[in-house]
C-alpha cells in the first residue's frame, strides 16, 4: 500500500515534511503509529499525543488506512 505522509511542526525534527511510504502489513492508524515509532523511537512521545488525519479528516486509532491516502500527523495544536 502506498500513502503520502505529512509531518508538521516538531515532528519535522524526526520525519520529512512530506514523504511517500510503501507499507506492508499496515492496515490501521494504530499500526502506522507503531511503525513510525519503531522507525524513530525518539519521536514516540510526540506521536502518542498527536492526532492523525486521513484525507483531512481526524481519525481514530482503529480506523483503516487505504491505498493512496494522504495521512498527516498533527502534534497538539498551538495556534492563537
Amino acid at each position: 500500500m502506498k500513502i503520502q505522509l505529512l509531518s508538521f511542526a516538531a515532528l519535522k525534527d524526526f520525519f520529512p515534511p512530506k514523504q511517500e511510504l510503501i507499507l506492508d502489513g499496515i492496515h490501521t492508524v494504530f499500526d502506522l503509529k507503531n511503525y513510525l515509532q519503531n522507525i524513530n523511537p525518539d519521536a514516540g512521545n510526540l506521536i502518542k499525543v498527536s492526532r492523525i488525519s486521513i484525507n483531512q479528516i481526524i481519525v481514530k486509532d482503529s480506523d483503516t488506512i487505504t491505498e493512496g491516502s494522504i495521512v498527516a500527523i498533527l502534534p497538539p495544536s498551538s495556534g492563537g
Binding site: 505529512l6 508538521f8 511542526a9 483531512q56 502534534p75 497538539p76 495544536s77 498551538s78 495556534g79 492563537g80
Partner: protein, 143 residues
C-alpha cells in the same frame, strides 16, 4: 496560498462594523504576539498550519457557533509565517442582537481554534534558541 480563514498577510483590526442593522452587540478578540512565555524572553514567533484542513476546521467551528447561538455575524482569521512582537496572530469577531451571544460565541470560537485547529507556533528566544510550543495542556482555557 491564502484561504478565507488562514493567511500569511499581516492582519489589521477592522475599522468598521459589519453593516447589519439588527446587530446590537459586537465583540472583537485579537491574539497578539507577546514578549514572554514561561519566563523566557521571546523575540518573535513563526506559525505554520496544515492550511487546507485548518481553513475547513475554522469554517466548521464558525458554523457550529451559528448553530449554538443566534448570531448576526462571526468571523475568524489566523495568520501564518513570521510574526514580530505586537503583531496580530488571530482575530475573532462576533455580532448578535444582544451582547451575551456575541461574547459567548467569540470565546467558544477562539477556544476551539486554539485547541483543535492544526496550527503550530514556534517561539524564538532572546538567547538565539527556538522551540515549538508543546500545545495546550491546560483544560481551564484560562490562557
Amino acid at each position: 496560498m491564502t484561504f478565507k480563514h488562514i493567511t500569511e498577510e499581516k492582519l489589521s483590526l477592522p475599522t468598521e462594523f459589519p453593516a447589519l442593522p439588527s446587530m446590537g452587540g459586537y465583540v472583537l478578540f485579537a491574539g497578539i504576539v507577546r514578549d514572554i512565555n514561561d519566563g523566557k524572553q521571546v523575540t518573535h514567533l513563526e506559525y505554520e498550519a496544515y492550511s487546507e484542513m485548518a481553513n475547513q476546521m475554522i469554517a466548521n467551528i464558525i458554523a457550529d457557533a451559528f448553530q449554538k447561538w443566534e448570531l448576526q455575524y462571526a468571523e475568524c482569521i489566523h495568520r501564518l509565517g513570521k510574526l514580530n512582537l505586537g503583531e496580530v496572530a488571530v482575530i475573532v469577531s462576533t455580532g448578535s442582537i444582544h451582547r451575551d451571544e456575541a461574547y459567548k460565541a467569540n470565546r467558544y470560537i477562539i477556544d476551539r481554534v486554539k485547541h483543535e485547529v492544526p496550527i503550530w507556533k514556534k517561539e524564538f528566544y532572546i538567547n538565539g534558541s527556538s522551540e515549538w510550543s508543546k500545545g495546550c495542556v491546560d483544560e481551564s482555557h484560562e490562557h
